[in-house]
């Protein structure tokens, strides 16, 4: 049991720091770039990924001993696609605005490399508990990164972080609300996405190098 606890802990820490997706593993970049225009969409995306990861990890872990090599990929994609569809449907039903905003990027979770990666690297080798914790941690790590990037982009692009019409955090008071800050439109565009992620990765490299 003690051993099991350590693996669970390891899996948890792994997802949130040692192997934090995007920054360390360099996987799942497309959604990262596409949905980080706002914290809210980043958060929604991240939570969807948490859901899919937990479910798919659990299912894959359950059937890990039954997999046949030639149908492996099929099985994984089938499982993942099913859960993604459910998540998509949920958003459509209960978060229609977000669903519209994220558009095709929700179904694209199916091909988000993180999910297959975890299915292969963790769920196919470990028990259900470890797999689920791994899924949770990896998903949260991903969400964390998305929110971090999104907050940079959203603040520079609008001056505020907007969750809903009534819940707005103003960081840099924008001109159109009588402030001084002229928003940087570029941050909402592809260049903002790529450059922010690039610089963040560089900063992470620099920080972790210093520690080592």
């Amino acid at each position: 049991m003690a051993e099991n606890q350590t693996t669970v802990w390891k899996a948890f820490r792994g997802g949130l720091w040692d192997e934090i997706p995007v920054l360390r593993l360099m996987l799942g970049l497309c959604p990262t770039l596409a949905v980080t225009t706002g914290v809210k969409s980043g958060l929604t995306m991240g939570l969807c990924v948490v859901f899919v990861l937990i479910c798919s990890n659990a299912v894959v872990s359950l059937m890990r001993n039954l997999l046949k090599p030639h149908l492996r990929i099929m099985m994984f994609t089938l499982t993942i696609a099913a859960f993604v569809t459910i998540a998509d449907l949920y958003l459509k039903a209960f978060q229609p605005e977000m669903s519209e905003k994220l558009g095709a990027y929700i179904p694209l979770i199916i091909v988000n490399c993180i999910i297959i990666c975890r299915a292969e690297a963790c769920a196919a080798k470990n028990g259900v508990l470890v797999s689920v914790v791994d899924g949770l941690a990896m998903g949260l790590g991903f969400t964390l990164v998305l929110c971090f990037l999104a907050s940079i982009r959203e603040v520079l692009a609008t001056g505020c972080i907007t969750f809903s019409e009534t819940f707005v955090i103003t960081v840099l008071n924008p001109v159109d609300k009588g402030g001084w800050f002229t928003p940087w439109g570029a941050m909402l565009m592809p260049v903002g996405a790529f450059v922010t992620l690039g610089l963040t990765l560089g900063a992470v490299n620099q920080l972790t190098k210093k520690k080592a």
Partner: protein, 206 residues
């Protein structure tokens, strides 16, 4: 042969069982949630249109109104009659499409019951460049406000001028002439074509 079938089932039962299972799961979820999804669609339209047509509580679709898109193509127009709680017609709301700078722009446009005055428009879909064309999106921004309560005669796009004057001169968004023009052109096209059809169906008078 039977050994082959056995092999097949030995190798593939898991995939097939899972397919069946996930198929079922999806179907159930869908059955449970799809009404909600459909409701959302209607809600969005109603919210936008309702916001512009104060007092309207329900919308009733009108059939057989279409747009001639040129080159022999036509498209049905989603146009609805706004009714208040007691069933009086308050005005019209329709979805209007035009091609903007980046992609198609979709608007919900509302007019009074006689189709003579515009109440304004709301944005259903717009992916114009942030900082440029997407100023169209600003609710009650200067651009949207220019359409509130102006007659439905053809609009004219001007660069510079007074946006506060409620007339058919529409002042373009600086740096986004294309978007501005797309909206003006689309509105003109739609209103010009819809009005006679409504008259023909006897829903409004000339």
């Amino acid at each position: 042969m039977s050994s082959k079938i056995a092999l097949f089932f030995r190798e593939s039962w898991l995939l097939m069982v899972s397919s069946l299972f996930f198929g079922g799961l999806l179907a159930i979820t869908n059955a449970a949630w799809s009404p909600k999804v459909a409701e959302n669609e209607i809600k969005k339209f109603n919210r936008l249109a309702g916001g512009l047509l104060t007092g309207a509580t329900q919308f009733e679709s009108v059939k057989d109104i279409s747009m001639n898109l040129g080159k022999g193509k036509t498209a049905a127009v989603d146009i609805r009659k706004g009714l208040d709680a007691s069933g009086n017609c308050l005005g019209w709301a329709f979805v209007c499409e035009g091609s903007g700078f980046v992609d198609t722009i979709k608007l919900v446009v509302t007019t009074d019951a006689g189709f003579t005055k515009m109440y304004g428009f709301g944005v259903l879909q717009c992916s114009e460049t942030p900082g440029f064309g997407d100023k169209l999106n600003i609710k009650d921004g200067f651009y949207q406000s220019q359409f509130k309560g102006v007659p439905t005669e053809p609009f004219k796009l001007v660069k510079g001028g007074d946006p506060k004057a409620l007339d058919s001169n529409i002042v373009a968004i600086t740096g986004a002439t294309v978007t501005s023009r797309a909206v003006v052109n689309a509105l003109n096209e739609y209103m010009q074509q819809i009005k006679p059809q409504l008259v023909k169906q006897g829903l409004i008078t000339q």
